[in-house]
C-alpha cells in the first residue's frame, strides 16, 4: 500500500485554495489533527520525489505554512519536510542494515541526530529534533523491525500532523479512502492566464 500525501497544519480552506491555484488537483481532507492533501498522480508511470513534490511545494508556498510530504512503498519511505525556508528529506529503506562496526554506527547516529535537529528547525519546531532522531528502523536483536508505514506515522505523531494519511495515495487508485475528502480541481490553464492578465 503506497503513500503519497501532504500533511500540514494550515487551514483546510487555505490549502484547498492553494491546490486550486496550482497545476495538480486532488482531494483535501479537513482532519481534526490537520489538513491532508492527496494529489492526483503525475502523468508518467515513474516519478521522482522531485516531480511528486512539485504540487506540494506550491501549497507550502501559498499557505506559508510548513508541511510534510509523505511518500512510501514497500521498499522505501520518505518524509519530505517543506517550509518556506527550504526543504529537507528523511528517508528509510525497508531492509536497512546499519554499519556493524560500533564506531561507524555511533558516528552515523550522531550525524543522523544532528540532521534531524536541522529538519526540526526547518519545520519551525527545533525542540522536536531529538524525538525525530528516534524514528529509525535499525534491526535491533529481539525486537521486530519497525515497518516503514509506522515510521511515517511516528513522524506525523511527533510533528502533530494527521497520521491517518499514511497508506493513502491516488497513485494506486481513484478513491481517497479518507472520511470527508473533498475533491479540488486545479484551475485550468486558460483561467490561470485570464487571472494573470486581469492582475496586470
Amino acid at each position: 500500500m503506497s503513500t503519497y500525501a501532504l500533511v500540514t497544519n494550515a487551514a483546510a480552506e487555505a490549502v484547498a485554495d492553494a491546490v486550486q491555484a496550482g497545476k495538480t488537483g486532488g482531494f483535501v481532507v479537513a482532519d481534526p489533527l490537520g489538513t491532508i492533501v492527496l494529489f492526483d498522480p503525475p502523468g508518467r508511470a515513474y516519478s521522482s520525489t522531485d516531480r511528486l513534490a512539485r504540487p506540494a511545494r506550491g501549497v507550502v508556498e501559498r499557505t506559508r505554512t510548513p508541511a510534510v510530504l509523505l511518500i512510501s512503498d514497500e521498499i522505501m519511505a520518505e518524509a519530505l519536510v517543506l517550509s518556506p525556508g527550504g526543504e529537507l528529506s528523511l528517508q528509510w529503506v525497508a531492509d536497512w542494515d546499519p554499519p556493524a562496526e560500533p564506531a561507524r554506527y555511533l558516528a552515523d547516529r550522531q550525524e543522523w541526530d544532528s540532521y534531524c535537529a536541522e529538519v526540526a528547525e526547518l519545520y519551525e519546531r527545533p525542540e522536536l529534533g531529538p524525538a525525530l532522531a528516534m524514528v529509525r528502523n535499525d534491526p535491533v536483536p529481539g525486537e521486530e523491525r519497525t515497518a516503514l508505514s509506522d515510521l511515517l506515522r511516528r513522524v506525523c505523531a511527533i510533528l502533530g500532523l494527521p497520521d491517518n494519511a499514511v497508506g493513502r495515495s491516488l497513485l494506486d487508485g481513484d478513491e481517497p479512502g479518507l472520511y470527508d475528502a473533498r475533491r479540488v480541481e486545479a484551475e485550468p490553464p486558460n483561467r490561470r492566464w485570464q487571472r494573470l492578465f486581469a492582475r496586470t
Partner: protein, 333 residues
Amino acid sequence: MDLRPGLSVDLRAGLGVELFAVRATAHRIATLAGPEAATGVIAEHDGWSRLRRDPREIGAVTRSAAYALIHQSGVRITGYHPDGSVAEGPGAATMAGGAALLRQVLAHDEPRYTPAARLADVCRALGVPPELLVDRPPRRLPIPAPRTAVVLVGLDLAAAAADAVLTRQSSWTVPLTPQWSMQVWDGAGRAAPGTSAAYVLAGRNPAVALWWSAREAGLVVVHGSKLVAGHQWGDWAPITPESTAAAGRVLAADFAVPDQALSLTALLRRRDLAPAQAVASLVALLRLPDAGLGRLSASALASWSATVPGAVRTPQLSGLAAIRHAVREAREA
C-alpha cells in the same frame, strides 16, 4: 444478525469471541478521544487498533471506520462509518469486492475451515489487518532524553583552543590535564555533532567524542581522520566482546594508562551501570579530573566551563574566517 442461519463458528478455541477494530492508531485515539480511551487499545497494526470494547464511539471521535466482529451462534459483523451510519453483515464491507468475499467466507462450510481461518478471512474482506487477532500492544514512542556531549582532545589548552574554531560551533576549551583538554559547546547557535568535532580536532593527537543522557552514554575515538573505536552503554549499538576489548586497548594507550586496559574493557562490557555511573567510572579509570562528566547537563557544563581558570571561549565562525582564526591562534600558541 446471523449472516447464515445455522452456521456456527466456535471462536472460543484460542481466539476469543469478539474483535473490535478501528482504523486509528493509539496515538490518534489518545489525541482525539483522550488518553483514557487509548488505554483500551490491546493491539495495533498498520494504522489499526484493536479495542477492548465496542468501537463505535471511538470511531466517531477519530473519524475512522470501525468494526465489531462478534461470535454468538454465527459471526455477526457491524461496521461503523465515520458519518455515524451503521452497516451490518456483508454490507459492512467498503472495499471493492469486499461484500462478495464476505458472503463466500460466511457461507463456506467445511470442517477444515477453522474458526480462526474464517475470522481472519472476515478481516481481510473488511480490510482489517488479521494481525490484530494476535495481542500486540502498541509500541510507545520512545521519549528522548536531553544529551550532553563533549570532545576530549589530546592536546594542551593553547593548541586545542587554536583548533576549536574549526569545529564550527561556539565553544569553551577547558584544560583537563597537561596533555588533555576538553571542548564544550557553550549553548550559542547549533552544536556540532560530537564525532564531527572529534574528526576536526584529531590530528596527530587522538580525540574522543563523549556523550551521555539518562538513556545512554557513549564514546567514539578518532585518530587522524580515522574512527578507531566506539562504545555505547544503554541504547542498542552493535557492541561485541571484540569491540569492547579493542576500545579498552585504544583508550588505555591514548590516555597513557596501560595498566588499566583490562579494567577499561571490563567497564565497557558492563550492562548494569546507569549512563552517568558508566561515564564517571570511565573518567576515573582514565585518570581525568572530575569535571562533571556524566553528571552535568549541557548548560550546566557550559556554565561550569566559564568558571574554569584559563578556559578559552571561541566563537562560531565558518569557512575561511575559521581557518584564518585557527592559523593565527596556532602561531601565537
